[in-house]
């Protein structure tokens, strides 16, 4: 067991998850903008 190596990776685990949510957030925002300005409307429920 290499506890120090594990502790070394902890910030990367946090950065990784935060990073992926941030990038995803930007993508979601972009898709919404694309849908708004490049067409696409509600069709049916």
């Amino acid at each position: 067991m290499n506890v120090s190596a594990f502790l070394y990776t902890l910030p990367y685990i946090v950065k990784g998850m935060v990073g992926i949510f941030l990038v995803t957030g930007v993508i979601v925002l972009t898709i919404n903008l694309l849908s708004r300005y490049a067409g696409g409307k509600s069709k049916e429920d």
């Binding site: 949510f21 509600s42 049916e44």
Partner: protein, 377 residues
């Protein structure tokens, strides 16, 4: 006569126990591919390749014979297609051409579940480090949690991991085992009531312009944030652009069928270059198989728990099972969630939601791979 027999069968004396063990592993992979229909396009060539490269003095791999190095064809293929990351990238063109991102474009918020379901990657990074793997190997092992073969190959190869063979075997095996791995995990962390939550599906038309701009914009965003993954996301999205542009149907069809099949054919057998007994048969391989399972389990947990978290704040409840489809194993994971929904309530149709989450997972796993490359590359 004795000399003749010695010439004919003398090589049999070079057979070792580890080689026989690798033949058995190869046979097991072939069995799983044929009898259990587990990722046959890759497990079968890998299984055969495992036997091929573990024959004594196999000419398929580079050998030193009488002091002279004889280059084997599997090593030639490895250097031409995997060492330079060409095969996984070409395969991504085919995969991109196969994927319809429509369900995601109709409900972009689903993308967040794809992000949450990459938790297994980062959790496994910590676990692999704790178990004593070097950082580059831990990062390569963690990427098994991307549930995406080409990304796993790309990242493990980038880090020149010593365990490429075991990582690829684990990645593809668990992708095939998604219908077995995910349901018990989902059931363990959800209640029956949660599994019965129905979700309305609003069908929206997506303009052609949006479909065409989507792969271009995603490539640009991901490429800027994570430049090392630009080839991965770029080739995936290039394939998707071929599909959506509407003027290259022939190329799109070729990418989906001929190109994907051809690359897969060579990919499987080439990976066998890293399945030689001396490199493959060690306790680390077993550890990697275990860590791969942990990665898939924690991906599932991450996706489901994120949906449960959102339910604390959202008026319109989300069926937390769709979070599990955020792993990129496409389309198995979406189907698993859909079937589980129907099993709880035969009028609960989750397929479109789970497909949307599943294709999000495909993009999110590449982003996660890119972040790993950024951190440790």
């Amino acid at each position: 006569m004795q000399s003749f027999l010695s010439d004919l069968f003398g090589n049999a004396l070079n057979i070792t126990l580890p080689m026989v063990a690798m033949w058995c592993i190869g046979a097991l992979l072939i069995y799983l591919a044929i009898k259990r229909d587990m990722e046959p396009t890759l497990l079968l060539p890998m299984g055969f390749g495992a036997i091929l490269v573990n024959l004594p003095m196999s000419g398929a791999v580079t050998q030193i014979a009488e002091g002279v190095e004889e280059i084997g064809v599997i090593d030639v293929l490895f250097n031409a297609g995997i060492a330079n990351e060409l095969f996984p990238l070409l395969l991504f063109i085919g995969i991109g051409a196969m994927i319809d991102f429509g369900p995601l474009l109709q409900n972009p918020k689903l993308m967040l579940f794809g992000a949450a379901a990459q938790f297994g990657i980062f959790f496994t990074l910590g676990m692999a480090s704790l178990l004593g793997f070097e950082l580059k190997d831990a990062a390569s092992i963690a990427i098994i949690g991307a549930a995406d073969g080409p990304t796993a190959i790309f990242v493990a190869n980038f880090f020149e991991s010593n365990y490429l063979g075991a990582i690829i075997v684990a990645a593809y095996s668990y992708m095939a085992l998604v219908p077995i791995v995910q349901p018990p995990v989902i059931k363990l962390i959800t209640t029956k009531e949660e599994r019965r939550i129905r979700m309305a599906y609003e069908q929206r038309s997506i303009s052609r312009t949006t479909r065409i701009l989507f792969p271009i914009v995603i490539t640009m965003i991901t490429g800027i944030v994570s430049p090392r993954s630009v080839a991965l996301i770029g080739f995936l999205m290039f394939g998707n652009l071929l599909r959506e542009c509407g003027v290259l149907d022939s190329l799109s069809e070729t990418a989906q069928k001929v190109l994907a099949n051809l690359v897969t054919l060579f990919l499987g057998i080439t990976i066998a270059a890293r399945m030689q007994a001396d490199a493959f048969l060690n306790p680390q391989t077993l550890l990697i198989l275990g860590l791969g399972l942990i990665a898939f389990v924690m991906d599932t947990v991450g996706g489901v728990l994120f949906a449960k978290l959102l339910n604390l704040f959202c008026k319109e409840k989300i069926n937390p099972m769709i979070g599990a489809a955020g792993i990129s194993a496409f389309p198995m994971s979406a189907r698993v969630v859909h079937k589980m929904g129907l099993a709880e309530d035969n009028q609960n149709f989750l397929l479109m939601h789970s497909i949307g989450v599943n294709v999000s997972g495909q993009i999110a796993s590449v982003i996660a791979g890119g972040l790993i490359l950024n951190f440790f590359g």
